[in-house]
Every structure is written in structure tokens, then in C-alpha cells.
Amino acid sequence: MDYINDINQTFENKHVRAFREAGGKVVGFTCVFTPVELLDAAGVMPYRIKALGHPETDLADGRLSRFNCRFCRSCLQLGLDGTYDFLDGILESNGCDQLRGMYENWEYASAPGFFHYLKAPHQLHPDALDHYALELARLRTALEQHFGVTITDDRLRDSMVRHRRIRAKLVALDRLREQERPAMTGSEALQVVLAGGAVPASVYEELLDRLAADLAHRHVDRPRVRLLLGGAATDEPALFEAIEDVGATVVADTFCFGARSYGPLLCETKGAGDLLRTLAEIYLGGSRCPRMFDEFDGRLAFVTEAVAEARADGVILVNNKFCDLHGFDNVLLRMRLEEQGVPVLALEKEYGSPADHGRMRTRVQAFLERIGGGR
């Protein structure tokens, strides 16, 4: 696993540096409805912006406010303090209101070279899918014009095939994680997904193959409690470690820095011919993000199925303070899951705040005891 963990030790890792030194361009994005296939087909490396629980927000606080979620503030902080200067551009998306504000301030304060706003609809209405396909066409044009490339259908098709393959490999890793004796812990699984957003797709595919081989005969301790973790943007390995440290193993998750970013996107689509329309269907149809305002049943089913497949004993739904989307969704999910007899702990946390870990640890311990485990 070291070759995976090393990637996440720095934001500009050795693969990014190598890619840039070879003349490649890197564009940052945040949301999982961003069709990375388009960037790849343009020869541009998509880099998933993250903060890894970065606790400093002083620069960002001058632009955003303490009423904005700290994940956004931490990301903006890294944008303003120069950490993300290696990015050749930014792809804004409307994942949530606060992310939009984050991007607007990033653009206002530092004017990145390439800046494009990809607007994704919040519903699956056929007109919305058409509109998203149009948005993808706009993105294609913007990439072509700014980077002086042509995104041919053939290149796009190849890229779509590769990314589908990558997602299938991630799903296969999940199966190893769901075993009676999992092949890896939840925090290790998070590291795998985080690495995927920080290296070129070709490199990632090789890493996944190597990892699959390494994990084939590997087992961690038999879990005393099998947990599913879900909720708001969580790219903090320390949080997973804190939870697993008290006697649970995270055998599944539904995070956007996790299973939500590949499993549902693996779906077969009806779209034929128009590649952008197909991408629109894949990404909107496969979105399990609470930003979709008439898809709660799909999100509930996603969690319920994951609980069943991983034979989870309980669910922890985390929510970053000030996140409206998960703030509402977690409550509804908790109600529905409990109706089905699934024990749930709803945990609101301050993103990137180690001071919060003690309080959370106590609550997790109490939850584990409630469902029959823990130390």
C-alpha cells in the first residue's frame, strides 16, 4: 500500500510533477459529476481538488466566512496559499452553493489561467440531460480553445472505455474489502480513491492492477464491527483511522471521495451515438449526491444495497458543519434506515479539526457498544 499512500503525502506528487515536466497540463476539479473522460481526451490531467483535512483557513476566512463549510475553506486556503499553483486551470462546478462561492473567490483573488464553469442540472428530467450534454459540449470547446487541442470522438471513446475499466477495478477492490476478513481497511480504501484523483489515468490503472494482485491474499483482522460510512465530502484519512481505531472496520462507504465516485457511474446507459449525451446520462444518472433534488429514493437504495452487500452492522453518516445538502439528507437517511432496522449514528463534525476527534471517538465508541462491538 505504500506506493498508494505516498501519492497522498503531498498535493503535487511525483506523478503530477512528471506529467507537467513532460509538457502536460493539469486542471483541478472537485465534483464527481465532472466527466474526467473529456479532460483526459484533451490530454489534460484531471486533478481532484482536496484538502486532506488541512486545518488552516486564515486566508480563506478573509473571503469566505465561518458560516461556510470548512472543506471549502480549506480547499480555498490551499488555492490562495500557493499549494495549488501547479494547476494550469480550474473547472468550477455547482456541486453546492458553497463550492460555487469558493470557486468565485478563487477566481476573483488569483485568476487561474484556465477557468471554466461546468453547470450540472439537479434533476434527471430529459430536458436536464439535454442541457447537461450542451454544457459538456461547451466544456469540450473551452478545453480545445484554451489548450489548443482537438478532442476527437475516437479519443473520447477510448477515454470513456479506460475510465469504465478503472471504475470496474475499483468495484472489484470493494468486493475484497467486503470479505469476511477484508483485504484492506476503510482508511486504506480512502487512500486508494484519493490517489486516483491525483495521478494520470494510465498510471492509476497500473497502480490498481498492482494493488489487486497485492491484495489477493491479504487480510486484515476479522472486524468486530462492520461499518458503512457515508455523508459529506470526507477526504480525511485521519477520520477513518480514528473510527477504525476503536474497534470497527469500515467495510463500505458511500462518500464522494469513495464508492459514490465509481460504483454508480459504472452503469450501462441507453445513450448511443452521441458521446456527450451518453456522458450526461452516466454522470447525472449515476449521481448519488444529495444535490440531486428528486433522487432521494435512489440515494437510499444505494446505501441500503451497500449495507446488504458489505453485511454492515451499522452505518455512520457524517456531516461537515454547515453542509446543507448532507445536513438534510443524513436525517432522512437515518430515519429510513432505522425503519429498516439498520442502526445509524449521525455525526456532525468540523472538517479538518483534530480537536473534534476526541468527541467523535466517544460517540463512535458508544455507538459500537450499542450495536455490540467496540473496545
Binding site: 469566505l64 461556510n68 455547482n94 460555487r100 453547470k119 454544457e135 438534510f328 439528507d329
Partner: protein, 476 residues
């Protein structure tokens, strides 16, 4: 365990507003005092403010219009009509155009609770929290939604959710209600795309919504009935812009509380006779006061633009208090909706006009665009110049993640482009416990006294000290 809610906002509002029937003609101060004397102080003070001497006739018409709006909803079921819950960023004209439907506006009901009901909005807010919802959600909608979730209020037959794209919190709370109470939800998404294609897709969504309403009501959107509504909407638009001219005057002859009237007129009564009557009476009041040279203080000291919402739980101590100090409340973002006339020629022109109206509603026109900061800055710089604002206030409603995330840009640009300083406060617009009104008063006094009026005084002193140009230059 959830907090107990004894009665819903609509029921309590109906009982309270029913008191207004006891008033005959234009009541005296004593009659108003007597009528409200048994109410707790918070409720009494606010209702008395809405009938203050400087706006009494208009206040009566306004309160009667809101009362009737609530009674129409109460009686809807008995008449076989559907109740449609709408958010504030949606033109109620469309629902008025259906014979078999009545609109009820979430945020207006919340405001009624915050402003008029004894105890304010607190018990509903507590109920929401007791369901496990976070404390940072928006009180503007969650207070009324809590009333509906409690099972102690009317339940709508359908929900129009018009904020997807413009506000997560608003969209989520309506989705939550839809799921919790199994009420159908009709989405009208704002595509955050300012291009013609964005407007086209919004028009498509709007037409889908019309079909959903037709299905709900079992009634086609009738062209003649729609025309009637649109013609009344257009009359409202004319009156709005006439009033706007009065807002520009120095001193501003309109009582500060007219801003509070303007929002519900747009959000509930647009396209109705009641809406027209309210605006006409406001205009009449403005003209009478202009002609008589009346202003609420000895002189107008400062012209204030509220760039977002203001505070609605103590209007006696905010709007009227500001008036007495000579501070004109020029507009807030809810009263600054800048309506445009709708072409009544055909069904399609009218629907297109409603699409544009919805597109331009408050919040949609700022936060539902490709750049929240650019659209908001553009509107506020325009308003500051047009209305001659000396300063601007951001109330800092803590739930509004969008405005909080770009207010720093607005602050810089307002100063750069319009030389208007912005005070950023923090408080909940509908919950009196977040920041007490006395603290808000203090902050306003410090800012206006030191930054705005202090700067004016300094400029006057500099002018007095500087010799006149002509006297100093013998050549000219």
C-alpha cells in the same frame, strides 16, 4: 423525542389576523391599542407598528389582503381547490391563474410567525432541531416547514420547489417535507446558465410545471383566466415602478415599513386585486406624504440599502426605529424585485412572460446566475446609484451560505464602483434569539454614526476650509 408543537402557523395566523375584522374604518391609536392590548408585547409591538400613524391606511389594506390570502387557503379544500406550497422565489401569478388552486408561500408564513405570533418562530425552529436537523439551516423556510412537519398545520396538496440551482437549503427543506409527508414535489430548477440556451431550458421546465399543475388541479391553464391574472400583474408592475420613483426622492416619503409590504405583495398577491389595492394605497400614502413634506424624523440623515434580507422579528425596533432616527430604509433584496410587464397577446407570450418573471425573482436573479458575485454586485451597485444610498448593510443571515460566500467580493466592489461602504452584520433574519435587536441597533448606530455620517461631516469640514475656486483664481 421531538418538541411539541400545539398549533400550526396558518391556524394561529388566521385567529390573530381575524382580530383585524374588529376594526371599523381607519381606527384611532386608542382603538388599535385596545385591540391588541391582550397580546404579548412582541406580537403587540409588531402589529401596532404595521398600523403606525404614518402608514395606517396602507397597513390596514395590507393586513386585510394577507388575512384574506390565508382565509382563501383555509377554505380551499372545502371548495374543492388544491393548496400549492410555493417558495418566495416563484411567481404566484401562475397558481392564481388556476381556478382550482391557491398558493401559499413558505417564507411569508414564516415571517408571519416571526413577526406576529406570540413567541415568534422559536417553537417551530425548536421542533425542526428536535428532528435532528442541523442548526445552520435557513429559518426563512424551515420555520413554516416545521409547522407542516409537526402535523398540526394544513398539508399542501403539492409543493413547488423553485430553488434548485439558486439555494440548496431551500431546495432541501422542501424535498425533506415532500419525503416526510409524502407530498408531490414539482421542481422548477434554475439552470445557473445566463445564455439564451439556459433561458430556453428554464422555459421547458416551467412548461413541465404547468403540466404538473394541470394534472394536479384537473384543469387546463385557461388563456382567458391567465390573461386576467397577467393584466392584474401588469398593473402591479406599473404601481411598483411608480413607487420606485418615490423611493428615489430625498427625503424618501415612503415609510420604511413599506419594504416589508412590498415583498409579500410580490410573493403572494401579485396578479390579484388585493395586490393592486395594497400598492395603490402605498402609492397614495407616498404621494400624500410627499405633497405635505412629511418625513418620519426632522430630517433625512442617511439613506440605507439592505443588500440582502433585513430582520423581520422586530419591525418596531428596526424599521420604525430607523425612521425616527432619520435613516431611510430604501430597499432590501426582497423588495427590489424590478418586475417587467408581460405581453398578454397569447397563451405563449403570457407563459413566456411568467418564465422571465420567475427567472428574475429575488435570489434567482442573483444566486441563480452563472456568477453569484457578479450578478449580486451588478444589482446592488445599480440600486445604490439609482436610490442614492449612503451606505449598505448585509444582515448576515447565518444560514445563507451563498451570500456569505461572496459578500467579501460585494463589499470590495460596492466601495470600488459606487463608493458605498458595506456593514456586514450577523444575525438571523427571522429568529430573534440569534442576535438581539438591541445589538443590531448598536452596530447600526456605530456604523452609520461613525463611518457614514462621520465621513459626511468630514467632507463638509474640508469644503468649509477650502477656499472657493473662483475667489482663489482672479483670472476666472
Amino acid at each position: 423525542m421531538t418538541v411539541d408543537v400545539h398549533a400550526g402557523i396558518l391556524d394561529r395566523g388566521l385567529k390573530l389576523f381575524g382580530l383585524i375584522d374588529k376594526l371599523v374604518g381607519v381606527p384611532s391609536d386608542e382603538e388599535i391599542e385596545g385591540l391588541f392590548s391582550l397580546l404579548p408585547p412582541d406580537s403587540r409591538e409588531n402589529l401596532t407598528a404595521l398600523l403606525a400613524p404614518e402608514l395606517r391606511e396602507a397597513g390596514l389594506v395590507f393586513l386585510n389582503a394577507i388575512k384574506q390570502w390565508m382565509f382563501d387557503a383555509r377554505d380551499a379544500r372545502a371548495l374543492g381547490k388544491k393548496i400549492v406550497l410555493v417558495p418566495f422565489n416563484f411567481p404566484p401569478d401562475l397558481v392564481h391563474a388556476f381556478d382550482n388552486a391557491v398558493p401559499l408561500t413558505t417564507e411569508v408564513l414564516t415571517t408571519i410567525a416571526a413577526l406576529a405570533l406570540p413567541g415568534g418562530a422559536g417553537r417551530y425552529w425548536d421542533f425542526m432541531q428536535s428532528l435532528g436537523l442541523p442548526d445552520h439551516i435557513c429559518s426563512a423556510n424551515s420555520v413554516e416547514i416545521a409547522s407542516l412537519l409537526s402535523g398540526k398545520d394544513f398539508l399542501p396538496d403539492a409543493i413547488i420547489s423553485a430553488a434548485p440551482g439558486a439555494c440548496d437549503a431551500n431546495s432541501k427543506v422542501h424535498e425533506f417535507l415532500s419525503q416526510y409527508q409524502s407530498i408531490p414535489q414539482f421542481l422548477l430548477e434554475v439552470p445557473v446558465d445566463d445564455t439564451p440556451e439556459g433561458k430556453v431550458v428554464y422555459g421547458k421546465y416551467f412548461r413541465t410545471l404547468i403540466r404538473q399543475l394541470e394534472e394536479l388541479t384537473g384543469e387546463r391553464l385557461n388563456e382567458d383566466r391567465l390573461r386576467g391574472v397577467v393584466e392584474r400583474s401588469n398593473r402591479c408592475t406599473e404601481l411598483y415602478w411608480e413607487l420606485f420613483e418615490y423611493r428615489k426622492m430625498r427625503p424618501c416619503p415612503l415609510p420604511n415599513l413599506f419594504n416589508l409590504f412590498l415583498a409579500p405583495v410580490r410573493f403572494c398577491l401579485w396578479g390579484t386585486e388585493a395586490g393592486i389595492r395594497t400598492l395603490e394605497m402605498m402609492l397614495e400614502t407616498g404621494e400624500r406624504r410627499r405633497a405635505a413634506g412629511l418625513y418620519t424624523a426632522e430630517q433625512e440623515q442617511c439613506r440605507v440599502l439592505w443588500v440582502y434580507t433585513s430582520y423581520y422579528f422586530d419591525v418596531q425596533q428596526l424599521h420604525r426605529w430607523m425612521g425616527k432616527k432619520g435613516w431611510s430604509f430604501l430597499a432590501d433584496v426582497l423588495s427590489l424585485y424590478l418586475p417587467q410587464p408581460i405581453d398578454p397577446s397569447t397563451w405563449d407570450t403570457m407563459v413566456d412572460g411568467l418564465v422571465t418573471a420567475a427567472w428574475e425573482y429575488p435570489m434567482n436573479r442573483q444566486m441563480g446566475t452563472a456568477s453569484m458575485s457578479r450578478a449580486w454586485v451588478s444589482d446592488m451597485v445599480w440600486a445604490a446609484r439609482e436610490l442614492g444610498a449612503d451606505c449598505a448593510i448585509h444582515c448576515g443571515h447565518d444560514a445563507c451560505k451563498q451570500s456569505w460566500s461572496v459578500v467579501s467580493i460585494l463589499e470590495e466592489e460596492l466601495m470600488k464602483q459606487a463608493q458605498v461602504p458595506l456593514l456586514v452584520l450577523h444575525g438571523d433574519s427571522w429568529m430573534k434569539t440569534t442576535t438581539p435587536i438591541t445589538v443590531i441597533q448598536q452596530e447600526l448606530e456605530e456604523f452609520i454614526g461613525n463611518v457614514v455620517l462621520g465621513a459626511k461631516r468630514s467632507r463638509r469640514m474640508v469644503r468649509r476650509q477650502r477656499p472657493a475656486a473662483k475667489a482663489a483664481d482672479p483670472v476666472t
